[in-house]
């Protein structure tokens, strides 16, 4: 494994998109310390800001406070990256493969526009989780994001594929403008969920924080079968799936009628 620790407490944000497992493979390890990162308005070598220890194993472990370090795991394609602490903005944005595991919380834009791979976050996540950057039409386009805690607003905005599971509450506008993909919320689902969505699914297992938008129309009360393999997958990932979740039933709301209207919000009915 390669272990990286901050040499000091950062006073300015660090932009370190070089922190991906690919750069720390045994063959390229010698050059890794000389990779450039941005510290505030300066550009400096990675080893100036971080201690790097390596023993040739493939996992990349970041230990310490990385909450001011942005773009960790950006565009990574393979391998395992573990953050033992908090992580800054844009974690795993545009990633295409591999696994990022954060043992703390993450800031905004984690998994933004990701195309594949898995992000696991033990704590909470900031806004725009797996979302689309301003001006972009496509948010998350594949992969899996698993957040144990709460998530701020606009999770899965403009998503096109993939799964986002949220163990706690989801802020407003979850799954807004989605074209496809699935957002599963175990806690309360915030208001305006699915606003402007064409397709895609938001599953509310823990109830609604407020009424759904009036642009969603009530469908039937049933047990959507696709939820069964999905819930099994999430249970295997350690989410608190209960017998009641599996049994349903779920109230189906379809919308947003201001858009294509084929999106759905499935609300678990507690009988």
């Amino acid at each position: 494994m390669t272990l990286i620790r901050p040499r000091f407490a950062f006073e300015a944000p660090v932009e370190a998109e070089v922190l991906v497992p690919e750069h720390f493979a045994p063959t390229s390890l010698a050059k890794a310390g000389r990779l450039r990162v941005a510290y505030g308005r300066q550009s400096c070598p990675l080893e100036e800001l971080f201690e790097i220890e390596a023993d040739g194993e493939e996992a990349l472990i970041l230990e310490g406070d990385f909450s001011r370090v942005k773009k960790i795991g950006r565009a990574m394609t393979e391998g395992l990256l573990i953050v033992r602490g908090n992580a800054g903005m844009h974690l795993g944005s545009s990633m295409a493969g591999g696994t990022i595991r954060v043992e703390g919380k993450v800031d905004a834009w984690a998994g933004a526009m990701m195309r594949g791979g898995t992000i696991e976050i033990a704590g909470s996540a900031g806004p725009y989780l797996a979302g689309a950057y301003p001006g972009e039409l496509k948010g998350m386009m594949g992969g899996t994001v698993l957040v144990r805690g709460d998530v701020a607003l606009r999770a899965g905005e403009r998503m096109r594929r993939g799964i986002i599971a949220i163990g706690g509450r989801a802020g407003e506008f979850a799954g807004s403008h989605a074209v496809a993909g699935t957002v599963v919320v175990f806690g309360l689902l915030g208001g305006r969920a699915g606003a402007g969505s064409k397709r895609g699914t938001v599953v509310a297992l823990g109830g609604l924080d407020e009424e759904l938008l009036p642009t969603f129309c009530q469908g039937g009360l049933y047990r959507p079968l696709f939820l069964m393999p999905l819930l099994r997958f999430l249970a295997d990932c350690g989410f608190p799936v209960t017998h009641a979740h599996r049994q349903g039933p779920y109230r189906r709301w379809t919308g947003d009628v201001t858009s294509l209207g084929k999106g759905e919000i499935l609300v678990h009915e507690k009988l």
Binding site: I163, R199, P229
Partner: protein
């Protein structure tokens, strides 16, 4: 060779390469899953007359099905990938999608796949949708009791069709009893099915006939009533013959099933156990009866 007083003929069963797949059908109850499984595997006795051979492999407990509901596994075999795809789409669409509360999943893993859900989805008339979960794509097709969930592609593998043995007995009752006993024992062998009705074949066939339009006809050498008219293979005391045909996902599974079946069929009244072959010129696999019977339990022939 004698086994429990029954002669095991020094011969072999000749079997063929096929493409096989496993469907896992789930439903709200095992009963409904069974209904769908029976519908999907109906009229699938022989590739020649039915296009494929299929049968129920057995129940799948909820903890082993993708959706956590009770399930039944069906094996389906065909001569080519194209035939398998055609049969799968037809049988899943007609036999399973139409059956209350069901869902259908691929029961095999592998790179060789054929589209099933991807073709059936059009039944949703634009309201269908897909979900990719844990690397597998499923299609959700709206139906009148909710939705039919079907996997996009089903994996298939090279398989073996036409493993067989013949039970020659001194009475029709003894032959049937031995055949039933064999079938009961063989049903427990995973990865195999017995595609004929009740697992037993009464109208064994030979290649060709005296009629130009007919490619197979009754196995006259094993028909007791024709003993005086043809070159019979039957000893004088034999009054009835039943055949057991086995299809399996691999050679080892077919061999295991044959061994279990022959052991169970070796009962009082059975005179000889033989097998059907074409002189080794047609099939790619040969299952030698005496070798199979001599193998250790759990032995793998592949």
């Amino acid at each position: 060779m004698l086994f429990r007083g029954v002669e095991i003929e020094r011969t072999y069963a000749e079997a063929f390469k096929m493409w096989g797949t496993r469907l896992v059908i789930t439903a709200e109850t095992e009963g409904w899953a069974q209904v769908a499984a029976e519908a999907a595997s109906g009229f699938a006795i022989s590739v020649i007359g039915c296009g494929c051979e299929a049968g129920i492999e057995g129940p799948v407990p909820p903890e082993k099905t993708p959706d956590g509901r009770p399930g039944v596994a069906v094996l389906l075999f065909a001569s080519s990938r194209k035939d398998l795809e055609k049969q799968l789409v037809g049988r899943v669409g007609q036999g399973i999608m139409t059956c209350a509360t069901t869902a259908c999943f691929s029961g095999l893993d592998g790179d060789e796949t054929v589209p099933v859900g991807g073709k059936l989805r059009y039944f949703g008339d634009g309201h269908q949708g897909s979900k990719v979960i844990d690397g597998r794509r499923y299609w959700r097709i709206p139906v009148m009791d909710g939705e039919f969930l079907v996997e996009d592609r089903f994996a298939m593998q090279r398989s073996v069709g036409g493993g067989n043995f013949l039970i020659l007995a001194d009475s029709a009752a003894a032959a049937l009893e031995a055949a039933q006993s064999a079938v009961t024992a063989m049903r427990s062998v995973k990865g195999t099915i017995l595609p004929f009705p009740g697992g037993v074949v009464r109208s064994g066939s030979k290649v060709g006939s005296r009629y130009k339009f007919l490619s197979a006809s009754t196995n006259s050498a094993y028909c007791p009533s024709l003993r005086s008219l043809v070159d019979s293979e039957l000893p004088p005391e034999v009054q009835a013959v039943y055949e057991i045909v086995i299809d399996g996902l691999d050679e080892a599974a077919v061999a295991r099933a044959m061994k279990v079946g022959i052991e169970a069929a070796a009962r009082p009244g059975v005179v000889r156990i033989s097998a059907g072959n074409y002189g080794g010129s047609l099939g790619q696999f040969q299952f030698h009866l005496q070798e199979i019977l001599s193998e250790e339990e759990g032995g793998d022939r592949s």
